[in-house]
Amino acid sequence: MTPILEAKNLKKHFIQSRNRIQAVDGVDLKLQAGRCLGLLGPNGAGKTTTIEILEGIQDPTDGEIWFQGEKLGGPRSASMARYRERTGIQFQSTALPDYLKVREVLKLFQSLYSRRMDLDEVIALCHLGELLDRDSDRLSGGQRQRLLLALALVGDPDLIFLDEPTTGLDPQARRNFWDLVRTVRARGKTLLLTTHYMEEAHELCDEIAIMDRGRIVAQGTPEVLLKHHFEGNVIELPLDAFPRGEVPAVLPGKMRTFDGRLEVQSTSVNATLQALLASGAALDHIKVRSRTLEDLFLELTGKDLRT
């Protein structure tokens, strides 16, 4: 099946203070219609540059983008004009024309597209009914994100880009936003989402792509990726659980200490627990858990997701 969006060997470099910075270094991506792909990466991994190239906001130094089986040309090409008609974008941070009411902003942006979603439908979908006569720059964080999502939808797009849509929202507003995204997905839309929140990726995405240093280092469904990269479980306990804080040199499993804790990746929880007991460790604060996407992220990039 032809993917709705495909990126082939995307590259982008910048020259900054005479230094060449390779922001995107050969990214390949495939996104099937109706799916939601989460693009994850630490700050500086190149994900904003990648998504902006995919959105048609930046030009790549090299590489190709294909949309619905058509290769995209330059910024003024007919294929790019068609692409802009068929895509909707919610930027991470954007301003809107000043002094316009919510209703006026929606009408303005809707008028820019030849295929349009019914405005009443968009308003109902994004719960904007009570905000229509409010100045667009006097909205709360959650209300603003709902308006920005509505602007991404007014052209009835096939593909929607959501760039860190819930950054800065409180947990309740974030969960409300997730419900909106699920409703949009249920209408058969394809989504490409970047996020800092693993939980968000888990909740909304069918598959994820993890970026580091301008490359995609892993792509697949969360389950497949976890299965592919990890075996067994994680056992965690504080370092002061050991007599005099001395951790045994060898335990069954891969060991790592961080933030005053010992983490053991174990394929046999039983064997590891017995070894810990034998070392005299107190197991009152022990945690045994499955591997998460957060662990995978750390494993692949060596960085915490929000650093």
Binding site: E55, G56, I57, Q58, A81, R84, E85, T87, I89, F91, S93, T94, A95, L96, P97, D98, Y99, L100, E104, K107, L108, F109, S111, L112, Y113, S114, L151, G155
Partner: protein, 334 residues
């Protein structure tokens, strides 16, 4: 087409809902005109002003008249030009000593001209009489076209140039780039919106100033509107060109100031460059505000028609198109 009008309408709303900008662009010209109206209400000039073409022969009745101390004499480059000033009451008498017999002209509606004529006749000099007629052009009459032009220049350059740079900096342009709207279409909407705003605000300023100070308008309102709109088109397009790539508001502000201040002083807003050095006049003629003020002043104070100010209007339209096309070609959303 609907979205083009909505883009224009969005920009218009932004303008009139920003009460600070609206107030400033409408109130400022009134303050200036009020100030000048007040300052020139009581004219303390006690001298007569006369223009002379040639030099009177020494020890003649004419040289006696020329020596009267209460008359300030200005050398006239040509009789025609002097008569034009006489019609506008810029001078009280014109004397041509090179014609045979020498001739003088006064404005029939000028009391000062009448008095000067009495003085001249009193010397017994053999002179031939000529008259012109025309309403007095006060400084405030002369100033109004400069003021309309200056107000328009600020609105055009800052209203478009500065706004675009702000839009680029805060990401509004980036958001619009992600839609099907094209650069030329977007920029044209900005220009049309600004022309509409300038047209309306100029009409309000004109009517308001006229109500405060009954200034002279000898020409056609339609001709004046064509000149002002051509000027607005040219200056708005210049604003677009300035803002085509800049993303720093400070830099844009500096650049716009560098552009506007020389025009304020050299394009004839406050004073005429008639007696200035030729090189300075040449520099002034290169500014787009100069033809706007020149043409509107000719229409307002001398009753010139559109065909008489055709060169200025053509210059503005050509320059405006060059600025707009270059601005669109250089334009960067991000």
């Amino acid at each position: 087409m609907k979205h083009f009008w909505l883009l224009i309408s969005a920009r218009n709303k932004e303008y009139y809902r920003d009460l600070g900008v609206l107030g400033w662009s409408l109130v400022f010209p009134f303050l200036v005109i009020l100030g000048f109206g007040f300052a020139f209400r009581s004219n303390s000039q006690i001298l007569f002003k006369a223009m002379i073409h040639g030099t009177p022969a020494p020890k003649t009745a004419l040289s006696e008249f020329h020596a009267i101390q209460t008359v300030q004499w200005v050398d006239a480059p040509s009789v025609d030009e002097s008569l034009s000033k006489l019609r506008r009451h810029a001078v009280d008498l014109v004397l041509d000593t090179e014609s045979q017999p020498p001739r003088y002209w006064i404005n029939e509606t000028s009391p000062k001209g009448y008095l000067l004529e009495k003085l001249l006749r009193g010397t017994g000099a053999p002179v031939e009489r000529g008259t012109v007629s025309g309403k007095e052009i006060r400084y405030v009459d002369w100033l109004i076209s400069g003021l309309l032009g200056m107000n328009m220049m600020f609105s055009a350059l800052f209203g478009v140039g500065y706004t675009l740079v702000r839009y680029r900096k805060n990401g509004v342009l980036k958001r619009l780039k992600a839609t099907p709207v094209g650069a030329f279409e977007f920029l044209s909407a900005q220009v049309v919106s600004r022309l509409f705003i300038i047209g309306l605000s100029s009409a309000v300023v004109y009517a308001g100033c006229h109500a405060l100070v009954k200034f002279t308008m000898l020409g056609s309102y339609w001709h004046l509107a064509v000149v002002l709109m051509s000027g607005a088109y040219c200056l708005t397009s210049l604003g677009l060109l300035v803002a085509a790539r800049i993303s720093s508001e400070e830099f844009a502000g500096g650049l716009l100031n560098v552009l506007t201040w020389p025009m304020i002083f050299l394009s004839g807003v406050w004073f005429s460059l008639e007696g200035a050095a030729p090189w300075l006049k040449k520099v002034a003629s290169a500014f787009p505000l100069t033809p706007v003020i020149e043409a509107s002043r000719l229409i307002m104070t001398e009753g010139a028609t559109l065909s008489q100010v055709q060169p200025q209007v053509a210059t503005l339209l050509i320059l405006g198109t060059v600025f707009l096309v270059s601005g669109a070609a250089l334009f960067r959303w991000k």
